[in-house]
Symmetry: C2
Subunit: 263 residues, 2 copies
């Protein structure tokens, strides 16, 4: 046995009675397992269930909540998938001892920034249908495509330029108004338009600023820039967006949380 394999100290259960703290209302439209998961998550995040706490076993939990064991299991499983709980056979279920690592989700830059300080905004440089060159058609995986919608925006925070964002969109999507683009992320607009985003492939790199980059971003030519190219798919496998963006490395970095989820 190596030093690394040593046991986590297990807190014995404190006076936290799930049956008293968690209430499930079968009448609500929210599924029972979701109600349990939501309230467990809240208890973990506001400290009522501190890191390292061991939960009661699934049988007792189910009995206390007057639910079946599979239902309670489903609730716990969603939190395990989020990395908030850890289960070990023969041992029990514990609150993870890490600051929460939110799973990585499809998010646009705007949504990310809105969660931080500063006021995000954007200037729309280009927003029009254009004849689709072979490159654009290939990026959207739509050979023979006649037209594409092209977007070019500058994202700002508190008025300072942060990124130049270029996008191709399929021409049959409803046209986003410049005004909408100024105040909302592209993903948010797509979702509102009924597009069900499913997955994306991203590539993150770096390069030096060209004079044009420098001019748009308020940097010096030769400054370090972060680049991100992304293809986004909906649930039917159609490409709903291709984008290539450049960020000022002096003012932005990508922050990712990874979890070793099951499956």
């Amino acid at each position: 046995m190596t030093a690394a394999g040593r046991l986590p100290r297990v807190n014995s259960s404190p006076a936290w009675d799930p049956a008293r703290e968690i209430v499930v209302e079968p009448a609500r439209p929210e599924p029972l397992y979701a109600q349990v998961a939501r309230q467990l998550q809240a208890a973990i995040e506001d400290g009522r269930l501190p890191a390292g706490t061991r939960l009661a076993n699934e049988i007792d939990l189910a009995a206390g909540l007057r639910l079946s064991r599979p239902t309670v299991r489903q609730a716990i499983q969603t939190l395990v998938n989020q990395g908030l709980l850890v289960r070990k056979r023969g041992v029990g279920t514990q609150v993870v001892r890490t600051k929460v690592a939110r799973p990585l989700r499809l998010s646009s830059l705007f949504d990310d920034l809105a969660g931080l300080g500063g006021t995000p905004g954007s200037a729309v440089l280009v927003n029009r249908l254009e004849p689709a060159g072979p490159d654009a058609a290939a990026r959207l995986e739509c050979p023979g495509l006649g037209e594409v919608r092209r977007l070019r925006r500058i994202r700002t925070v508190d008025g300072e330029p942060l990124a130049v964002m270029n996008n191709y969109l399929p021409p049959d999507l409803p046209a986003p108004a410049d005004e909408e683009l100024r105040g909302h992320g592209l993903y948010q607009l797509l979702r509102t338009a009924g597009v069900r985003l499913h997955s994306a492939q991203q590539s993150i790199g770096a390069r030096l600023a060209t004079p044009e980059d420098a001019d748009l971003l308020g940097e010096q030519p030769g400054a370090a820039l972060l680049t991100m190219a992304r293809t986004t798919y909906d649930e039917t496998g159609r490409v709903v967006e291709y984008g290539w963006h450049v960020y000022r490395a002096s003012r932005y970095s990508f922050n990712l949380s990874l979890t070793n989820g099951p499956a």
Copy 2:
């Protein structure tokens, strides 16, 4: 109804009979749902179940495989979580029409590179215990720590330098031999040592090469570099690694697949 909401064309089921193609052996140690999931995944990946194919419904599938519906559901769920299948209530289950987006997992650079072309290797510049400065102790979230193991390596592909990698490790982990580090990723060595990795927080940025960077990596000073800083936690919430790496942007970029998994 917007254009974006239009229906996916549903292929009627071709002559792919799950009951004939999938065999479950209750005697094997592998769980039944895992056997089903594995064989379904294989069928999707090698083209026997092309993108867009609709699966039989869960009841029929269960009957055909002589399993219960929850078991079949569990198998399908794991593939949905991986983004390989899409389920819609009232409609059915379809193979996703996208090239597969593998979920983002904890991986070391070495593991990533091993999956691509070229022969990865590395040179170990530093591998020793050092007195822990306040910075190192803070990075490992272990105030008062006496010593840390410090690593400094150069990662190469086909002999060409690709990245400089700096790491702090807690002093109680078994010391990795230089020889092991040359041929294996750090994560792989940690797992072998019994560490159960749980989650990580990464930050990706860019900067210009200093003369020292340039010397180590064979670039010019002022060249664009990708930077990545990472803190890795095990299941007990302990920091098991802190690393800050720089990559030659001319030869490397991060590729991520994101999926909008449930929960």
